[in-house]
Amino acid sequence: MTLSSKKRDSLKRNADLCIRCANCMAVCPVSRVTPLFPGPKHAGPGAERFRRPGELSVDEWVDLCIGCHLCDSVCPAGVPISELNLLAKAKSLDERGRPFRDWLLTHSYLYGWGGVLFSPLTNRLLRNSMVKRLLETILKIHRKSPLPDYQSPTFRQWFKGRSSRGGKKIAYFYGCFTNTNEIDVGKATVEVLEAIGFEVVLPPQDCCGLPMLGNGDFNGAIKKGRKNLSSLLRTIRSGMEVLYTSTSCGFMIKHEYAHLLELPGSEDLAKHTFELFEFLRTLKESGNLNFHFKKLPVKAGYFAPCHLRALGIGFPAFEILKLIPGLESKVIEADCCGMGGTFGFKKEKYEIAEEIGKDLREAIDRLNPELILTECEGCRLQIRHLTGLKVLHPIQILRDALRSSSDQEVFDVGDALKNKIGLKS
C-alpha cells in the first residue's frame, strides 16, 4: 500500500514545469536558517532529475524539509515541490531504515491513553531532566523540545458524560491532541456550537495520519485514512457536515486524502468537511450567526499556521475574532513556527526548529501581545515554549467572550474574563 505509480509519475513529471524563478527560494523557512538545506528549488525540481528508482539516494538533507507548503503556494508554475521532497524523503528513509523515535512520535495515539491514565506521573516524568536526557540519548528526542502534557479524562470521555441539547446535528473531528492533551479546545468547540443551536456528534475517529505522512510513511497514513473515511463517510451520508479545529488534521482529511493518497470516497468527504471558523464565517455571511459578546479588552497576536495557509480559505478565525468588542488582534508577521508537526522534537532538527522559531519570537516581541491565538497544536506548543506566553486556539477565546443568552445587559467584565483565561493572577 503506497502511492499509485500514476500519482508518482505525475508528481515527478511536474518537476519539469519549473521556470527557475526562485520565488520558492525567497520563502523557505528552513534554507533561510541553515545552509544544510539547499532550498526548495534545488531540493524539489532541481534534484528530481538525479533521483532514480533502484539507485541509492544521495540527498539525505531532503529530510530537513519541514513540509510547510509555503514553496508550493508561491510557485507560479504549479510545481508540487513539497510533495517531491516527501517522496524523496520516503525513498531515503526506506533505504536507511526509520528510527524507532519516528515511530514513537507518529504513533502517540497508541500510547496516548497511557499518558492520560497516568497523566500526573507522565507529566512529571516528561518534565524531569534525567528522563529528558534519556529520551535524547536513546530516542534522539531533543531534551529541550516542548513535549506536551497529558490530561485526564480525555475529551471523548468528558463528552460522553454530557446530555444532548438537541438541535441540528453536526459532527466534530477533534484529533488526537485535543482528545488527550488540550481537552479545552474540544470543550470550547462544543460549547460554542451548542450556543448557536447545534447538537454536536463525535463520530468514531482515529489519528488522521498526517504525522506518518510527514515522516514519509505512506502506508501508515493510508491505513489511517481508510479507517477514518469509513466512519466519516457514514457520518456525512446521514446528512451531517464534519467540522475540525486542527488545521493540520483538516488539511490531511480534506486535501491529502484525495489529492495525494487518492483514497476512495475522499472527494465526497472533502465537500462536507469544514474548518470550524470557515463554517462560522459561512453562517455569518448568510446572516445566520448571532453572537452576543462581552467586551474583552485583550491585545492578542494571531498566528496563521502553515496548514491553514495551505487550506486556501484565508484567515476566517481572524475575521470572526474582529467581532469581539475590545479584542485587539494583529497578525504576527512570520511564516513558520519551526515545529513542523514532529520535526522540532527530533534531536538533529531541534536547532533548526529553534532558529526558525527565533524569527517568530522576534515578530511576536515586536507586537508585544498579552495572548497568542493560533489554530494548530504544534504551533501552540512551540510558541509557548518560545515565549512563555499564554497560547490558545481562537475558539477558546470566542467561547470566553460569548455571553450566555440570559445575560442581557452589556457590561464590561474585561478583568473578570482576563482572570478566567488566566491572563491575570
Binding site: 526562485a22 520565488n23 525567497a26 533561510r32 545552509p35
Partner: protein, 404 residues
C-alpha cells in the same frame, strides 16, 4: 463569498490596485496562483529607461506619449503617472524609501558589471550612483553563486573582497540565509571589521542585496559606522530580496486594511452572464470554491506571469479568454534576442480608457472587468525599461477609474 472587487494576480499592478481599492474602503479579494513576480523582476522602479540620458523624465514621458498613442501611458498622462507614483511611494516612509536622482533616470550598477537606467530606487541602492573606477570595494561571499564580486570588480575597474564563512559548514549559501545573518548585529560586526581592514582608500562598499528583509537601513547604517564609508547594494539574480521587501510591505499594508489574500490558488473557471462576470471558481483539489464580486481586475502579466500562453498556432489569455492583440503576423513572431525589441513582447490585451478589454470592433467585452499591468498591449516594457511604471500607474488608475 462576495466582494466589491476581486483582483487576479499578485504582481506590482495587482498589489497597487488592491492598495487603491482598500484606500477607498472597498472589500477586496486578491488572488494569485503564485506570489506574483516581485522576487523575479522588481529591484528598482523603471518608468522609461529608453529616453536620452540627460532628459528630465517628465519631458521624456511627454514626448513618449505623443509618439505612442497606443501605449498604456497614453491612457494615463504624465500627471496621472506622477500621482500613481506618489501613491506608491507613500507606503514606503523613510528610512527605507524610494527616490529618484533629480527627476532623471539614474544609472545604477548591475551584478554583471554594467550600468542600467532606472527611475526610482530604494535608499539602500543610492550609493551605486557614485560608483566610479577605483572608488568602490565590491564585497561578495564564498559559496554565494548569485554574486561574483571578482567578475564585477574587473568590469568596474575596482577591487573586491570575497568573504568566507567557513564556520557555516556547507559550501553553498542562499540569499535568504545571508540576509538573515545580516540582520544580526554580531554578524555585521564580524564582517564589518573584515571589510574595514580590506579598504585601501575606497569611499564606497558594494554588496549583494542582502542587508536584511526587515530593517535594511539599520544594517546599512551599522556597517557604515564600522567601516567609515558608504555601503550600498547591487541588485542580482532572483530571488530578488529587493522585490521581497516590496512584496512584504504591500502585504502588511493590505492585511492591515482587511484584504483577503489567497496565495497559491489558481482560477479554474470564470462565470459569465452576457457582458457581466459574476464570479470565479478556484480549484483546490479536490474542492472547487466560488467567489463572487461586483467588479474584477485582471493583472496576470504576460508569459512569465502566466497571463498569456503561447501555443504553436496562437496566443491566448488564460483566465477570461480575451482576444490577444499583436501588431505582427505569425511569421514575424520570432526574433534574435529576447531582451531586445522582440516581437513576442508586443502581444497583449487592448483596453479602453477605463481599462475595459475590447473586442475586434473596439467595443468593451465585459462591463465589470478591467485589465491592468504588463498584459496590456501597446508596450514592450522590457525593451523600454517601463515595467514597474506601467504596473504602478495602470494598477492605480485601473482601480481608481473603476471605483470613483
Amino acid at each position: 463569498m462576495h466582494y466589491d472587487l476581486i483582483i487576479i494576480g499578485m504582481g506590482l499592478s495587482g498589489l497597487m490596485a488592491a492598495k487603491t481599492a482598500l484606500d477607498l474602503k472597498k472589500r477586496v479579494l486578491l488572488i494569485g496562483k503564485g506570489m506574483g513576480g516581485l522576487t523575479l523582476f522588481s529591484n528598482t522602479i523603471d518608468i522609461l529607461g529608453r529616453i536620452p540620458e540627460n532628459l528630465n523624465l517628465k519631458d521624456g514621458l511627454f514626448e513618449w506619449i505623443k509618439d505612442h498613442p497606443e501605449h498604456p501611458y497614453s491612457k494615463i498622462g504624465v500627471e496621472g503617472i506622477e500621482e500613481a507614483l506618489s501613491s506608491f511611494i507613500s507606503i514606503f516612509p523613510p528610512p527605507y524609501t524610494f527616490q529618484s536622482l533629480n527627476g532623471r533616470n539614474a544609472k545604477l550598477p548591475t551584478a554583471i558589471g554594467t550600468f542600467r537606467p532606472t527611475y526610482l530606487f530604494p535608499s539602500t541602492l543610492a550609493g551605486g550612483t557614485y560608483l566610479k573606477e577605483g572608488n568602490t570595494l565590491i564585497v561578495g561571499f564564498k559559496g554565494f553563486k548569485d554574486f561574483y564580486a571578482g567578475y564585477m570588480a574587473k568590469e568596474f575597474k575596482c577591487r573586491h573582497l570575497t568573504l568566507s564563512l567557513q564556520d557555516e559548514g556547507r559550501s553553498e549559501l542562499t540569499a535568504t540565509y545571508l540576509s538573515r545573518l545580516m540582520e544580526k548585529e554580531g554578524f555585521r560586526e564580524r564582517i564589518g571589521s573584515q571589510i574595514k581592514n580590506a579598504l585601501k582608500g575606497e569611499s564606497l562598499v558594494a554588496m549583494p542585496p542582502i542587508l536584511g528583509l526587515r530593517d535594511p537601513m539599520d544594517a546599512k547604517k551599522h556597517l557604515e559606522a564600522i567601516t567609515g564609508v558608504e555601503v550600498f547594494e547591487i541588485p542580482t539574480l532572483p530571488p530578488s530580496l529587493l522585490g521581497m521587501r516590496l512584496f512584504n510591505r504591500f502585504k502588511e499594508y493590505l492585511l492591515e486594511r482587511g484584504v483577503d489574500l489567497l496565495i497559491g490558488n489558481k482560477i479554474s473557471k470564470v462565470q459569465i452572464k452576457s457582458a457581466l462576470c459574476e464570479g470565479i471558481e478556484v480549484y483546490h483539489p479536490p474542492i472547487t470554491r466560488f467567489y463572487s464580486a461586483d467588479h474584477f481586475i485582471l493583472a496576470t502579466g504576460r508569459f512569465i506571469g502566466g497571463g498569456l500562453e503561447a501555443e504553436r498556432e496562437r496566443i491566448s489569455e488564460t483566465v477570461f479568454h480575451l482576444p490577444v492583440w499583436s501588431t505582427r503576423s505569425q511569421d514575424k513572431w520570432f526574433g534574435e534576442n529576447f531582451f531586445d525589441d522582440h516581437p513576442i513582447h508586443g502581444f497583449g490585451i487592448s483596453v479602453d480608457p477605463s481599462f475595459r478589454p475590447l473586442d475586434s470592433e473596439g467595443k468593451p467585452i465585459f462591463e465589470n472587468v478591467r485589465v491592468i499591468g504588463t498584459i496590456l498591449s501597446g508596450h514592450h516594457s522590457l525593451y523600454e525599461g517601463s515595467r514597474e511604471g506601467i504596473e504602478i500607474s495602470t494598477g492605480y488608475w485601473g482601480a481608481k477609474r473603476l471605483l470613483e
